[in-house]
């Protein structure tokens, strides 16, 4: 994760087109979204089933969000905002599978989306206010800087949050692996008997936890039992280097960094897009 996206292979045309992990995930996200969208949008009935109620709820929420942020006259932007939001969320969550990389932890993705937003803004300004007004805006050169800063800040915000979360999770995983290696080394240096005793203590604590229904006792019991088991196995020379402490704990962090942060960043990115495009598409005169 601390590396950039892996290049799986390079298509040897046009000077070599590299297919990166991000591109693969991106294609997968597109396929999943399109298939799910077509499946959910099929067979709509006046009297909806369970799935249709959920679909309508979700689509309705997106429409409400867009209409409340951009105004009723910009309701037609919902498909784009929705596609952006869903691509962002699914692109982040797809990193949780473990073997695929989050599309949003690649600057190529977020910068592309941010530049799309900028182009949409410019297009809307030209369409609504005319090219003269668009160009007149740049008499003040600060606006050029702000127009450049806007997509860059959007792109780096989204990319940084997801990438940072991934890096943190990886660092924690590595740290916990080394800690567990040290602890196991400490136990095994005292010989087989101590390892077995540690294992027994862990099992006892686990059993106590189950009997008394205490969550903490269960967790620590399982941890100590696994440490003892790992040291025993290492003393016996069967397997080595099991990162016992790295089991499960990074997952808790992942819930924050991938689920929560992914959702928040998708929302922030969509909201910023809505605000910028909404400003470029003011309500029609006389409303």
């Amino acid at each position: 994760m601390i590396n950039g996206p892996k290049i799986y292979f390079t298509i040897p045309i046009l000077g070599g087109i590299p297919i990166t992990a991000t591109a693969v995930s991106s294609f997968l996200v597109t396929v999943i979204l399109c298939v799910a969208g077509v499946l959910l949008g099929r067979n709509l009935k006046k009297r909806p089933g369970r799935m249709q109620v959920l679909t309508e709820k979700g689509v309705g929420m997106l429409y409400d969000l867009v209409e409340s942020t951009m105004g009723k006259h910009n309701s037609y932007w919902t498909p784009y905002i929705g596609a952006l939001f869903l691509s962002s969320i699914l692109g982040t969550l797809i990193g949780m599978t473990g073997f695929l990389r989050s599309t949003t932890s690649d600057l190529s993705t977020t910068l592309t989306w941010a530049i799309m937003t900028s182009f949409l803004c410019w297009g809307c300004t030209i369409k609504n206010a005319g090219i003269g007004a668009f160009l007149k805006n740049y008499i003040n050169p600060m606006n050029i800087i702000s127009d450049i800063a806007q997509p860059v800040s959007m792109a780096f915000r989204h990319f940084g949050n997801i990438m940072g979360g991934g890096v943190l999770t990886s660092l924690l995983y590595m740290a916990l692996s080394s800690v567990s290696a040290i602890v196991i080394g400490l136990i095994r240096s005292n010989g087989l008997v101590v390892s077995i005793i540690v294992f027994a203590i862990g099992v006892a604590l686990l059993a106590f936890g189950f009997l008394k229904k205490k969550l903490a006792a269960k967790i620590f019991g399982a941890l100590i039992a696994l440490l003892g088991l790992a040291s025993t196995l290492e003393v016996l020379g069967t397997v080595t280097g099991i990162p016992v402490l790295a089991l499960g704990i990074p997952g808790v962090l992942s819930i924050y960094f991938d689920l929560f942060s992914g959702f928040v960043q998708a929302l922030v990115f969509s909201l910023l897009t809505m605000v910028y495009v909404g400003m470029a598409c003011p309500p029609p005169e006389g409303e």
Binding site: I2, G4, T22, V38, L44, V59, P79, A83, S108
Partner: protein
């Protein structure tokens, strides 16, 4: 297995793929998910609104009908009252007429009867007068055993009888 991209860097091909994927996602989701679902929601909303409007209309219609029936009922009641009043008046007038007619008839009958009675009485009186006069003459003849000047005495007796009749 050609290695890795830079961690903070933009690969133009990946960016192009992302752009294409985004456009594809946007088009397909818009065409197959957002627009149909939105249309369905709006249609249903419209249907519900229509149903409510229809129900409201039906309710107001019913109330109007009720008011109209009430009005009809009221007018029918007042009409009935009028008819009864008129009938009572007519009946009273008719009964008065009948009574008056009956009284007139009765008066006529009584007058006629009185006239008849008076006539009969007169006739009877005349008969009685003449018979009393005759009888008196005969009695007087018998009493006197002599011829009485019939012409002279008849006038005398008739005068007496008349006076008696007037006195009675």
């Amino acid at each position: 297995m050609d290695g890795f991209e830079a961690i903070i860097g933009v690969n133009p091909w990946t960016a192009l793929f992302t752009l294409l994927n985004m456009i594809i996602t946007f088009l397909i989701l818009g065409k197959f998910l957002f627009k149909p679902v939105k249309k369905m929601i709006d249609d249903r909303q419209k249907e519900i609104d229509d149903a409510y409007a229809e129900a409201d209309k039906a309710k107001s219609d019913a109330q109007e009908l009720k008011a109209e029936y009430q009005r009809h009922l009221d007018s029918a009641k007042s009409e009935r009252d009028d008819i009864i009043k008129e009938a009572v008046v007519t009946a009273g007038k008719r009964s008065d007429e009948i009574v008056a007619e009956a009284r007139r008839d009765a008066d006529a009958i009584r007058d006629k009867a009185e006239r008849d009675i008076a006539q009969e009485k007169k006739k009877a009186m005349n008969e009685v007068k003449s018979s009393i006069a005759g009888i008196s003459l005969e009695i007087a003849e018998k009493v006197c055993e002599k011829e009485i000047d019939e012409g002279k005495h008849r006038a005398l007796i008739e005068d007496f009888v008349n006076k008696m009749g007037e006195a009675s």
